[in-house]
Structure formats: structure tokens, C-alpha cells
């Protein structure tokens, strides 16, 4: 079987966000593979290590720099990478058009993608891709097992979790808790440099984005920052309760 794992390159969560020309500026910031996508790469590797014959292909859409994130996936153990190059910012619905066509071309039967993107805060890629392929989907998985073409596991729903079973092909979203992603070892980093990184142009996918990005701003809500010293607990408690009752008026 062939597994596609979709990779996003995002701002490291510890980095601060800078805005220039009405958009988030990523130059000079530390960029990493989206942690939510790491769980997908790791899960694909684990499926293979459990004895399933699988080729793992990492896919990314974006400017030249996203190859760094694809290299990380290769260093973790993915077999090859496909980079669809574009400098245009695309929303998830537009990206799904690329990913679904690649899945068909590659005859993949399983696609992994992170549950929520750390840059666009979107959940949409997996479902949109599944819809274009007419495949089922399962989101926010926290346990997975594959026997033949039957996928079973556990995922998070609106309230609580559900156990499921599903026949491949399918699109699956991953999240923290599904597994513990491995760090690329030095030999594997060296090996990854020789792995195939195929570059494709966006043009052939016929993508016409329907969404326009207008402006971005970092809105920091002014906080009062009235922080008390709690060494004298009863006094600090009395003062806090007084502030919440009589100044903020948020409790009775």
C-alpha cells in the first residue's frame, strides 16, 4: 500500500508572530514541521514497522522553504517526498484539490494530516480531500490499528471519544496522544539527503482559490495584570475576592 502524509511548515510555537504588509511575516523566524503532522508521519512509520508493506510519501504545498519540513519527514523515515511549489497562500479547500489529485496519481489508499493546522488554525484539509476523493474520513484519532484494509481505532468526538472501524481508502487526522514521534537520528538525516524530493508545479492542478486573505493583525487584549503576592494566603484571598466582586464584578 501507499500512504501519503501531508506536511505543513509552520512557525515554532515558542516564536513570536510578526506582521508585515498585512500578513504574518515568517522570514527570520524559526519554522518547523507542524507537530500535528509529525504524529501522522510517525503513525505511518509504525504501521510499516508492524509488518505492513507500505511506501510512505510526504507531501507539502508551499514555497521553496517547505522542503526543510519535508526533509524532516524523510529523516524520520518517509521514503520520498513531493513538493508542489507555490508562493501563493492557499486555504485548505484549495490545497485539498492538489492533495486529492496526488493521492489518485500515486494510487494511495491512506492519507494522514494533522487535526488542526498551527498556522491557519484550520481543520478542513482532511474532510475536503476525502470529499474530493469520495473517501470516508476519521478525524482526531488517538489510537489506530490496521488489519488488511480494515482500520480500527479511537477518536475524539464533540463529547467524549468513539471507537470506530473503517475500510480503506480513507483520510485520517492525527493529534497529540496518538503516538510519540521519533527524533531523526544523524544516520537517518544523512540518508534522507539522498531520498527523492520530486518538485511539481502548482499549475497542473487547476487550483483557483475561492478565499482572499485581506489583513492580519496581532490583537493583544489589554490585561489589567493586577498580580498579588500570596505569601499571606488569607489576605491575598480576601483582596482577590474583593477585586472580583467589586471591581471586575464577575462573581456574586
Amino acid at each position: 500500500m501507499r500512504i501519503l502524509t501531508y506536511i505543513r511548515q509552520v512557525l515554532d510555537a515558542e516564536e513570536s508572530v510578526h506582521i508585515a504588509n498585512h500578513a504574518v511575516a515568517l522570514e527570520n523566524s524559526k519554522l518547523v514541521m507542524d507537530t500535528m503532522d509529525e504524529y501522522g508521519v510517525e503513525e505511518a512509520l509504525r504501521l510499516r514497522e508492524s509488518g505492513i508493506e507500505a511506501e510512505i510519501v510526504a507531501v507539502a504545498v508551499g514555497p521553496a522553504r517547505v522542503q526543510d519540513a519535508l526533509r524532516t519527514a524523510l529523516a524520520m523515515g518517509a521514503d520520498r517526498a513531493i513538493h508542489v511549489e507555490t508562493d501563493i497562500r492557499l486555504d485548505a479547500i484549495a490545497v485539498s484539490k492538489v492533495l486529492s489529485q496526488l493521492a489518485t496519481q500515486e494510487q494511495a489508499t491512506l492519507i494522514f494530516s494533522g487535526g488542526q493546522q498551527a498556522d491557519w488554525d484550520s481543520h478542513a484539509l482532511a474532510a475536503a480531500t476525502a470529499e474530493r476523493l469520495q473517501w470516508p474520513q476519521v478525524t482526531w484519532t488517538s489510537a489506530l490499528e490496521l488489519k488488511g484494509t480494515t482500520l480500527t481505532g479511537k477518536h475524539d468526538a464533540d463529547e467524549g471519544s468513539e471507537f470506530f472501524t473503517l475500510e480503506l481508502p480513507a483520510v485520517v487526522t492525527t493529534q497529540q496522544g496518538l503516538n510519540e514521534p521519533r527524533y531523526p537520528t544523524l544516520p537517518n538525516i544523512m540518508k534522507s539527503k539522498k531520498k527523492e524530493m520530486r518538485k511539481e508545479s502548482l499549475d497542473q492542478f487547476g487550483v483557483t482559490p475561492k478565499l482572499k486573505f485581506v489583513t492580519a493583525e496581532v490583537q493583544v487584549k489589554d490585561r489589567l495584570n493586577k498580580i498579588l503576592d500570596g505569601k499571606d494566603a488569607p489576605a491575598a484571598a480576601a483582596q482577590l475576592v474583593d477585586l472580583l466582586r467589586n471591581e471586575a464584578r464577575v462573581i456574586a
Partner: protein, 320 residues
């Protein structure tokens, strides 16, 4: 026509639905568009839900079918796309819940429509929709635009004011649907029930992190304070992973996003993933041992000190 897909839980229309109705009304104001609102109720045994929502919209469409007993992304998206097409909707509003954000992209693809995800404002002018949404783990506010005859929008919970029901009820119609066979089979569920108010519906949320010490500490400090204040209970990823609390209470990037009037963080240091789930709360109160904890940077009120001393003292004070 604006189509609002009704969210409900435990036999009652959810707050998110009343918020969507307000978003629908707001979006249509001065837009020159057809501002009539149609509510769509999907499920089985949903007559009470349909009757309840009828008091705030212009028309209610009800698909009360045994096949819709269990939510499924393929069923829900097929139903919504069919109704939107038949009713020539210009706008389809879906809740920003986990399920809403899961099936809405399918609806957008079926309708060849743009998807505006998890919006906090929504304005229409002619065919153009403008919306704002949070990005970069809720650290950035972005404005997006789409021009199309029909658009699919998910509404972030807890942002719009809930609409108020009127005295008179709109007419209800049963609809026929051609539904696919769901391929995702749910074999079992673990539903965590609580007697407390729901996390995303609460005016006050009391949350705990590692700093409460143990599962017992959580009960003793966080739950006790929540019960005293009539608040919902939240937790960080770390203590959910540690098994102290159920997943349904998790606040943050991989859990729920909350925006209550007051958020009280106890023993929470404030990792960016947690902050992204609560940093839009109106008033933030933090109690933590470490004065350098990031949570204090976004707190309105706080105490640096020992949770085990401070919470009992606060409880005593509240009971005075």
C-alpha cells in the same frame, strides 16, 4: 435564504445555534440580500428541538429520520448540501464544534463554495462576504473575503450574542433526503457526563493544571471552587494525558476553545497551546506558584503563591 444547521445536545437547542442565528442576522444587515433564516434540524426524535428553534427563525426544515440517529460526516454533509441546493441558499451556517468543522468542508466541496472557518465576525455586501477569524494558535486576527453565490461558514462558539426566542413560532416542514450509507462505523462510545454547566456554555470556567498536584488536588481545589461559583471545569492537556481528568474537559489547541466572561486558571503555567484555547476570555484570573509563568502575562487578576493555601482561603472568603 440563509441556512442555519441546528446544533443541539441532551434534548435542547445548543447555545451555539442561538449564536449562529445572531450571526445570520448580523451578516445580512444592509447587505441587500435575502435575510430570511431557515433552520435545518437533522436527527431522530427531534420534534422538541424543531419546536424550540422555530421561535427564532423564519422557517424550520426537519429531517426526523432513524438514519440520522448517529452523527456522521458523510450523512450530515449530504443532507446539508441537498437542502442548501434545493432552497437556493446564499449562506450556510454550521457550528464551530468539532463535528461542524469536520463535515463543513465536505459541504463546501459539494456546493463548489468557499469555506470560511471558525469566524468571529461576518458581513455580507452583495455577493461578497467578509469575516474575521483567529489564526496562529489564536494569536493573530485575520480578515478574509470570498465572493460567491453561496458560501459555507462555521461560526466560532461563544463569540456572537445568542438570539432571543420570539413569542410566535415559524412554520415547520418535513424534508425528504437522499442519504449515503455511512462508512465510518462507530462501535462504542465513552461519553463523559457531568452535572455541571457545559464548558463552552459557561459564564465562568475554573481550570486546573499540573500545579494542583494530583487528581485529588484537582477535586479539592478546582472542582470545589467551580461548584462554589456555579462554574464549568476545565483542564490542561498535561493532566488529561496523566489521566487525572477526562478529555471532555480539556481546554486548548487539541481540546475545546472557551471564551467565558471569567476564566480562572489554577496551577496552570500557560503553554501557548493552552492559551490558544482560552486567551479570548473576558477576564482572566491566574493562581500559580511561579511568578514567571506565562499565564500571568495575560491575566487581569492573579496571585503568586501556593494553590493548596490560597484556594481554601478563597473558598472561606467566598462563603462569608
Amino acid at each position: 435564504m440563509i441556512l442555519v444547521v441546528v446544533e443541539y445536545a441532551n434534548g435542547k437547542v445548543s447555545k451555539s445555534t442561538w449564536e449562529m442565528i445572531t450571526a445570520a442576522q448580523d451578516s445580512a444587515k444592509d447587505s441587500g440580500r435575502d435575510a430570511s433564516i431557515t433552520a435545518l434540524v437533522l436527527g431522530s426524535n427531534v420534534a422538541a428541538i424543531a419546536a424550540e428553534v422555530a421561535k427564532a427563525v423564519d422557517q424550520v426544515l426537519v429531517a426526523d429520520l432513524p438514519a440520522l440517529t448517529q452523527y456522521d460526516p458523510e450523512l450530515w454533509s449530504a443532507a446539508v448540501a441537498q437542502i442548501a441546493t434545493e432552497g437556493e441558499a446564499s449562506l450556510v451556517l454550521i457550528g464551530g464544534s468539532r463535528s461542524g468543522r469536520e463535515y463543513s468542508p465536505r459541504v463546501a466541496i459539494k456546493l463548489d463554495a468557499p469555506l470560511l472557518e471558525d469566524v468571529i465576525t461576518l458581513k455580507a455586501a452583495g455577493e461578497t462576504l467578509t469575516a474575521q477569524r483567529y489564526t496562529y494558535l489564536a494569536r493573530v486576527t485575520e480578515t478574509i473575503e470570498a465572493a460567491a453565490p453561496i458560501a459555507v461558514v462555521t461560526i466560532k462558539p461563544g463569540v456572537f450574542n445568542p438570539a432571543t426566542p420570539k413569542a410566535e413560532s415559524a412554520e415547520q416542514f418535513d424534508v425528504d433526503l437522499s442519504l449515503p450509507t455511512p462508512r465510518l462505523k462507530i462501535t462504542d462510545k465513552t461519553v463523559e457526563r457531568t452535572s455541571r454547566v457545559g464548558l463552552t456554555e459557561a459564564e465562568i470556567v475554573v481550570s486546573g493544571g499540573r500545579g494542583v498536584g494530583s487528581a485529588e488536588g484537582f477535586t479539592q481545589y478546582v472542582e470545589a471552587l467551580a461548584d462554589q461559583l456555579g462554574a464549568a471545569v476545565g483542564a490542561t492537556r498535561a493532566i488529561v494525558d496523566a489521566g487525572w481528568r477526562p478529555y471532555s474537559e480539556q481546554v486548548g489547541q487539541t481540546g475545546k476553545t472557551v471564551q467565558p466572561k471569567t476564566y480562572i486558571a489554577i496551577g496552570i503555567s500557560g503553554a501557548v497551546q493552552h492559551l490558544s484555547g482560552m486567551n479570548k476570555s473576558k477576564t482572566i484570573v491566574a493562581i500559580n506558584r511561579d511568578a514567571e509563568a506565562p499565564i500571568f502575562k495575560i491575566a487581569d487578576y492573579g496571585i503568586v503563591g501556593d494553590v493548596t493555601q490560597l484556594i481554601p482561603a478563597i473558598l472561606t472568603e467566598l462563603k462569608k
